[in-house]
Symmetry: C2
Subunit: 120 residues, 2 copies
């Protein structure tokens, strides 16, 4: 049953609500800052950032753990960092057969870009 | 000598080199990830994010420490977090008379937005 078609039918596992307004629009509320800081913190580590970029730039914005190599850390460390990215809502994952596939969460990335991107 | 005109004549204290390509363009190099992670990490704290948003949204993207209140932490803690944002290249500061004024670094914010903003 595990095939590539299946992925298209699945709902994302982590749905991060759109957050937040552009940083320069108005002072963030405490609640907004709590939510947004989780996402920034997840990207605030060089290894996680490389892993995330590797997955984001891989074919279709999805990569298997088997596609990840050469980031200079052990496989358990890779898994640890992927879990952190997933917990922050930046990645979703799906097991297909032997491997777990990671996919970027476009809505979350768009929301982060909006916070920073409309910079005057 | 301390007047608002003076600020326009000053060079930014911290000039962060443009970094980095959009995250989905290609896997980041180790060096790029090291540099970018510093910026994301600086925003990965709710209090710093609120302070940053407060300054960014203040008149002209600049605020005096005297403009900062109601983020729920003590003045020494505010100063500590502002220093972290400054060390990461996200803010510059200038003393004028009694007060230190903080200003967002637009080039750095634009670079971060570019990393996230061109999301497919």
């Amino acid at each position: 049953m595990a095939n590539t078609k299946a992925l298209e039918l699945l709902e994302p596992q982590a749905t991060a609500a759109p957050c937040c307004p552009p940083l320069a629009e108005r002072p963030m509320t405490s609640g907004e800052a709590e939510r947004a800081a989780v996402m920034f913190k997840a990207l605030g580590d060089p290894v996680r950032l490389r892993l995330f970029s590797l997955i984001a730039s891989h074919d279709g914005g999805e990569a298997c753990v088997c596609d990840i190599s050469d980031v200079g850390v052990s496989q358990p460390t890779v898994s640890h960092h992927l879990k952190k990215l997933k917990d922050a809502g930046l990645l979703t994952s799906e097991r297909r057969g032997t491997w777990v596939y990671y996919r970027v969460e476009p809505a979350v990335m768009a929301a982060m870009g909006q916070m920073l991107g409309t910079w005057r």
